[in-house]
């Protein structure tokens, strides 16, 4: 279980995360979606959990161990992987090389100076598996910077899955993706996540997607938890609807 306990983070005057206490993965493999208007502190929250930022107050606990002071790469080893809102992949590598790099790292093989990068059979079979699962076969030998946007997003997510995480934190995996591709991206994530029992926490703006796939929804507003509940909450909680749809005095 991954827990956030009383997390606070402010940037100067702005309090981005204000005393957030949440837990994920009580049920293994659950799909949690984080919703909230712009500036609610969603990305900051994920940045805190993954070690991109460190909190001013509060702690992060993984399976009972305090990991608040752990380095970002240490957390990856501990089983927490993430993706970024703006795709961050290794631009000059092909899709396959990107995934190979990830799997080599995950298996602790990157200190090997004299073996062949493409000569590790277990790594190669896992890379092929990822290519297939994320349906990137046609693009496998394309350099990342030449990929269409949807494939870049898929590659980004595939790389996070390649780390064999227990917890996967995705920052808007569907942003900038066309409506038609959106379903495809999110379905792949859900499918693979369910199959491997990965607890995924996803920031998402598209309420149709949230309603359709979420096991649980966390709503953030102005750095605090507005509510946690089943996806039906989006229908029943009028104030939340007002916040998310941006009608009312907040906008």
């Amino acid at each position: 279980m991954l827990e956030a306990r009383n997390l606070r983070k402010s940037f100067g005057e702005l309090v981005a995360t204000d005393d957030i206490t949440l837990e994920f993965g009580k049920e293994e493999g659950e799909l949690v979606f984080i919703v909230g208007p712009n500036g609610a502190g969603k990305t900051t929250f994920i940045n805190l959990l993954t070690g991109f930022l460190s909190p001013d107050e509060g702690s992060i606990v993984l399976d009972g161990d305090d990991i608040t002071g752990m380095s970002a790469n240490g957390r990856v080893d501990a089983g927490i992987a993430r993706s970024f809102q703006v795709v961050k992949v290794f631009e000059e590598m092909t899709v396959r090389e990107n995934l190979r790099t990830v799997v080599l790292t995950e298996q602790g093989k990157t200190w090997s100076l004299f073996s062949m990068a493409d000569g590790h059979e277990e790594v190669e079979s896992q890379v092929e598996e990822l290519v297939e699962k994320f349906r990137l076969e046609d693009a496998a030998d394309t350099v990342a910077e030449e990929l269409p946007h949807g494939d870049r997003k898929l590659l980004d997510v595939a790389m996070s899955f390649g780390l064999d995480p227990d917890y996967l934190l995705l920052d808007e995996p569907t942003s900038g993706v066309s409506t038609r591709e959106k379903e495809y991206v999110i379905e792949t994530i859900v499918e693979v996540g369910r199959a491997e029992g990965v607890t995924t926490v996803t920031i998402e703006h598209d309420m149709d997607i949230v309603t359709e796939y979420a096991d649980r929804v966390v709503a953030l507003h102005q750095g605090t938890v507005h509510g946690v509940g089943p996806p039906t909450m989006l229908e029943t909680d009028d104030e939340l609807r007002r916040l998310l749809l941006g009608v009312g005095d907040d906008e």
Partner: protein, 382 residues
């Protein structure tokens, strides 16, 4: 024995992890043979001096090491002469003060000293990236230069001779050779060391370690978030590249039998080394080595022809950056700009006039722009 493999349809051979097509194998054999016959060629020609080529190869070898950082982690070190100088001075000190006579032991000393130096400078400068990293390496390099210049034990600006014990020069295979033979033998030693060094570098650039370095160079944040302790990897690469510098510095000292701060530690040497990597083609393995030979040769010839030989180096750099950004090897190899242009020319010779016209037009545009700027500077905007 070489094993036959298939690379995208062309037959290739794999031996000790090195994979080459037939064409590449031919170039490889030719290159190695050429390296070994250079002393004979040099003895026939007046303008070609063995010592110049030898020095070019040694500095080029430092550039091969530097290239591990430049090409993969995308860090620009402006102080790689520090490791060359450390290797050279360690050799001199060992020979002079510890009486070490064997070339092999002297080189091991050079490697050890350069490794320690690279480890320390690496820890201190890799806290930063980009410009600050470049400036820190420059600063540490100059610091070592100042120390060598100021310490009388290191000979100050006069430098240190390498004459261990009663022997006039270091011993190869436990034997003192006559100076002429010694020069040729040490040259062959350099060639062997370079071939081993290139082989090791080739294997490193095929390994998972290279993937980690590439990841760090291309997207540092993501590299952290796939679980790479970034700084540790860059540090390891920095130390490896420093070792290449140390080996070359040690050989330089053994060959020259004299080390001076200007020739080994001065920051212009660091600039030269960086220039060599770019001149030869930093996206290739052997480019930096060839860049080293070409640059040292140009500087040597230039010195004979004109006192403004630094100007010559500048012109070469300009031509390179504007016309052939991939360097000598990068431009010459298949798919490079030179091959592309040549095949175009073979297909359609009239393309030459088109190129001429484009070149004339772009020169005309640039001259007009320059004149306009000059007019504005001199007379102001009207």
């Amino acid at each position: 024995m070489p094993e036959r493999v298939d690379r995208d349809g062309t037959p290739a051979y794999r031996f000790l992890g090195v994979e080459v097509t037939r064409r590449e194998a031919a170039f490889l054999v030719l290159g190695v043979v050429f390296l070994f016959v250079i002393p004979d060629i040099a003895s026939l020609s007046d303008s070609l001096q063995l010592s110049v080529i030898h020095q070019g190869l040694l500095f080029g070898f430092v550039a091969v090491g530097l290239n591990l950082l430049l090409r993969h982690t995308k860090l620009t070190s402006f102080g790689h002469a520090a490791f060359f100088g450390t290797g050279a001075y360690a050799t001199a000190v060992l020979a002079r003060y510890a009486g070490v006579q064997s070339v092999g032991l002297l080189l091991l000393g050079a490697i050890a000293a350069a490794t320690v130096m690279a480890a320390i400078i690496g820890v201190l400068s890799l806290r930063h990236t980009g410009l600050y990293f470049a400036l820190l390496t420059l600063a540490f390099g100059q610091l070592l230069y100042a120390i060598a210049l100021g310490q009388s034990a290191l000979g100050g600006s006069d430098g240190l001779p390498i004459r261990p014990g009663p022997a006039n020069q270091p011993l190869l295979f436990g034997t003192a050779f006559s100076p002429d033979v010694y020069q040729v033998l040490t040259y062959y030693l350099t060639v062997v060391v370079i071939l081993i060094g290139l082989f090791v570098m080739y294997r490193i650039t095929q390994s998972p370690f290279r993937n980690a370095l590439d990841a760090i160079g291309q997207e540092r944040t993501r590299a952290r978030f796939i679980g790479l302790p970034v700084r540790r990897y860059v540090w390891a690469a920095f130390v490896i590249s420093g070792i290449y510098g140390g080996v070359a510095g040690g050989l330089y000292a053994v060959v020259r039998q004299y080390v001076r701060p200007e020739g080994t530690l001065f920051f212009l040497r660091s600039g030269d080394i960086l220039f060599m990597a770019i001149l030869g083609g930093f996206r290739t393995l052997v480019g930096p080595l060839i860049g080293g030979v070409v640059l040292v040769f140009l500087q040597d010839v230039g010195q004979d022809i004109t006192q403004y030989y630094e100007f010559l180096t500048g012109v070469v750099l300009l031509i390179l950056v504007y016309g052939f950004p991939r360097g000598i090897v990068g431009s010459l190899r298949s798919g490079g700009i030179v091959n592309a242009r040549l095949s175009e020319l073979r297909r359609e010779p009239s393309v030459l006039s088109t190129w001429g016209r484009t070149a004339a037009q772009s020169i005309e545009r640039k001259v007009t722009a320059a004149l306009t700027s000059l007019r504005i500077i001199l007379f102001g905007v009207d």
